[in-house]
């Protein structure tokens, strides 16, 4: 039987007066050891909030979850030690070099001083950044910054990795590198990976199972094939639109029908 590494129970996060904004609403989910799980959803669906809740960055309004057996409400520090996070739009300390930044992150995660320099060197080599290790991050391209952030998420070699929109800001070459890395981490390093994205091909290619979230609610769960079959569509894209709703094709050019608009 597969070991459950992330167990989510009625996890909810409400905002606003009287909790009228339901960012995450009674989420129930299990992610297994060694699995690559994709949480799919349109912008504002609640993906990032879910990741923040599971990483103990924010607290749930209701419900709870365990990550590698640790309760997110009672064992924050332990949860943080077993997870690595690549946030959607994280800020780097731009006035630090890549080496200094990774050293800082390693120290925050209590990576032993005996192994930290070697690990930083290895990660910088892996991401082909070793020749730029002493350059300030402010001079890095977006793809290079993303590589540094992934290296930071891996610095303490956690068993569970959260990638929030890992390729959304990258060019095709950098995106391919990130995809291959995630595959490698899952296949060869046995990591459990939780990916949030709205880029369907990424999720389709990398994930063993996916969940579709919309307006805070999990509305579909299964393998890509299962979800396509459930909606009786041919592709994941069609299935996603069918589940979450979208603009009908005939409505797309309605604005041109207005008098004089085409002149």
């Amino acid at each position: 039987m597969k070991k459950v590494l992330i167990h989510i129970e009625e996890l909810s996060k409400y905002y606003g007066k009287g909790g009228e904004i339901k960012a995450v609403d009674e989420l129930e989910l299990e992610v297994y050891e060694g699995e690559t799980f994709g949480l799919l959803g349109p912008n504002g669906a609640g993906k990032t909030t879910t990741v923040r809740l599971l990483n103990c960055i924010i607290k749930p309004t209701r419900g709870t979850a365990t990550v590698n057996g640790y309760d997110i409400l009672k064992e924050e520090t332990e949860v943080k030690r077993v997870t690595g996070l690549l946030a959607e739009s994280p800020g780097l300390y731009e006035k630090l070099s890549a080496y200094e930044f990774l050293k800082f992150m390693g120290a925050l995660y209590d990576v032993s001083r005996d192994i930290l320099p070697e690990r930083i060197d290895d990660l910088l080599k892996l991401f082909s950044l070793d020749d730029r290790r002493d350059y300030l991050l402010e001079g890095y391209s977006r793809g290079m910054k993303q590589k540094v952030l992934i290296a930071a998420a891996l610095i303490h070699d956690p068993p569970i990795l959260f990638f929030d929109e890992p390729t959304s800001m990258l060019d095709p070459r950098a995106a391919l590198m990130v995809k291959n890395l995630i595959k490698g981490l899952a296949d060869r390093a046995g990591k459990t990976i939780f990916i949030c994205s709205h880029i369907l091909p990424i999720v389709e290619e990398l994930c063993d199972r996916i969940g579709i979230i919309n307006q805070g609610k999990l509305i579909a769960l299964g393998t890509v094939d299962e979800i396509i079959a459930q909606t009786e569509k041919k592709t994941l894209e069609d299935a996603f639109i069918a589940i979450t709703g979208g603009v009908e094709e005939r409505e797309l050019l309605a604005w041109r029908e207005q008098k004089g608009a085409s002149t």
Binding site: Y15, G16, I21, R52, N55, C56, I57, I58, K59, E76, T77, K80, R81, T83, L85, A87, S89, P90, G91, L92, Y93, K95, L96, E100, F104, M105, A107, L108, Y109, D110, R113, L136, L149, A152
Partner: protein, 522 residues
């Protein structure tokens, strides 16, 4: 054993702050310590020797307690304000997510940030402490008294810095999550300096120090400032100065004041640590987005003034883009505030032309701040106009008119009020003064607009921004000095025959050159 987390954050903060001097980073502390040692051991004693009699007389005078209280209050206030102002200038919360995802307590982040910046504030503290101890030394204070004075300064400075760090962290979290919040932060960063400037002007030009020689006035200042912890140390320092080498003579007073100061420091540390959870949080603080209302009479009038057609729409859009940014409004409030402070503390009824001279330098600063918005929104905004047919010309025209609508009425109102305040002002002189100043500032809007297009500043922290803001008023300072000293012209003649024609000439030339540059910016 793992390194304490607060130390990791402090080291990180120190590395960030010294990134510009990375090459000399290993020697930097030794260099600073060496220079400070020379300053404390040689420079301050030599400086104090020059004025030794005046210093001794001062410390034994009636005004000493109040003056030292004011000095300590000013330093206390600045040590609180500087970290807040620096944070508000550019509110950044983006790094918080990766730090909060790590196993670290918010109180460790706060302590680390405080300790990371402390060495730089310690330099300022040592400069001040060095001077004070050098001044007090000739009075014959013993080592215990000198030591306690040093501790008083350290505790006062660092409790202020800690308060500033905690408030800055809370405000960063409060304002950093929305564009509106960041805008409020930038606006506040400028405005919060005004009270301290006011106090400084009161000392320099308002005769505050002279007034403190009066027992009634100094007693009142002491009573008010005495409530603040910065004053408790001041009272101990002055009591030591009055009883050099005899700490027992003021034992009880020393114990209560000094003890109170230390207790205050401990309390602020404890409260700050308690507030840390609120200071580092990614929980959203608001879900209210700013919403535009339908255009009212004001915008309809502006559109009408712009001819009502597409240029009118462009003018209204430019105006909205400008006035909905609180940072822009804070620039106006700041310059107007400065003008009021200058008028209150420096203007003398016997010299009515002072107001005109002040206006001649401060109104161009206002014009420069207002015009700066033209490039501060970034190159991409400028490219929008470059893309549209005849966009560049219409954009510059809209910006010019928008600048006039903002700056000219403010200048007119302030000049009129300050002219009315002058005794025996005639209606004609009121109209002349106001009209001349409005003409002058209108030309300065064109000049500043052209300058900002010619030498674009895409950030308010850039060198170009500071250079342009500096150049606009100082051009007039130079021309004013030449016309008064070289050509010996009276003030109004200088303004009317030299400054106004020249300002319009410069305005037209710079606007033309700026418009040409805008078409070529890449």
């Amino acid at each position: 054993m793992p390194v304490p987390k607060w130390f990791v954050v402090a080291r990180n903060e120190y590395l960030i702050r010294t990134s510009k001097i990375r090459k000399i980073r290993p020697y930097f502390p030794f260099l600073v310590i060496g220079l400070l040692t020379i300053y404390v051991a040689f420079i301050t004693p030599a400086f104090v020797n020059l004025f030794i009699d005046e210093f001794i007389a001062f410390f034994l005078s009636q005004a000493a307690v109040a003056v030292v209280e004011i000095i300590l209050f000013l330093i206390f206030f600045y040590f609180i304000i500087i970290p807040i102002s620096n944070t508000l200038k550019e509110v950044q919360t983006e790094q918080q997510e990766i730090v909060l995802a790590a196993p670290i307590k918010p109180s460790d982040i706060l302590l680390g940030e405080f300790l990371g910046v402390m060495p730089f504030y310690a330099i300022a503290a040592i400069v001040i402490i060095g001077l004070f101890t050098a001044v007090l030394n000739p009075l014959g204070l013993d080592m215990v008294q000198i030591g306690m004075i040093i501790i008083i300064f350290i505790v006062t400075f660092f409790s202020a810095l800690w308060i500033g760090t905690v408030i800055a962290a809370i405000l960063r979290t409060k304002f950093g999550k929305t564009a509106r919040g960041k805008d409020i932060g930038k606006a506040l960063s400028l405005i919060i300096a005004l009270p301290a400037i006011g106090l400084m002007y009161a000392i320099i030009g308002g005769g505050l120090l002279e007034a403190l020689a009066d027992p009634g006035t100094s007693g009142m200042v002491e009573a008010i400032l005495g409530l603040l912890p910065s004053s408790w140390g001041a009272e101990v320092i002055i009591s030591f100065a009055s009883n050099p080498g005899n700490i027992t003579a003021v034992g009880f007073e020393t114990l209560t004041r000094f003890g109170g100061l230390v207790a205050f420091f401990v309390a602020t540390l404890w409260l700050g640590a308690k507030a840390a959870n609120r200071a580092y949080s990614l929980e959203p603080t608001t879900f209210i987005s700013s919403r535009a209302k339908p255009d009212g009479v004001f915008y309809k009038t502006i559109k009408y003034l712009g001819g009502g057609g597409s240029f009118g729409t462009l003018l209204v859009s430019t105006f909205k883009g400008y006035s909905r940014r609180l940072q822009n409004l804070s620039y106006i409030a700041y310059v107007v505030g400065l003008l009021v402070l200058v008028t209150v503390f420096f203007m003398q009824p016997d010299y009515p032309e002072d107001a005109t001279i002040m206006g001649m330098f401060l109104f161009p600063i206002l014009a420069a701040f207002v015009a700066s918005d033209v490039t501060l929104r970034g190159k991409d905004t400028l490219f929008i106009y470059r893309k549209t047919p005849s966009g560049v010309g219409r954009f510059v025209k809209a910006r010019l008119v928008q600048g006039w609508i903002v700056v000219v009425p403010i200048t007119g109102a302030i000049t009129a009020v300050s002219t009315i305040l002058i005794p025996q002002t005639t209606f004609i002189s009121l109209l002349t003064n106001t009209g001349i100043m409005m003409l002058f500032v209108a030309a300065n809007v064109a000049f500043a607009l052209g300058l900002f297009l010619l030498n674009p500043a895409f950030s308010d922290k850039s060198g170009n921004f500071i250079f342009n803001i500096f150049i606009v008023p100082n051009v007039w300072l130079g021309i004013f000095i030449i016309s008064i000293l070289v050509f010996d012209l009276p003030l109004l003649d200088s303004l009317f025959y030299v400054m106004i024609p020249l300002s319009w000439l410069l305005g037209i030339v710079f606007l033309y050159l700026g418009k040409r540059k805008l078409s070529r910016i890449e």
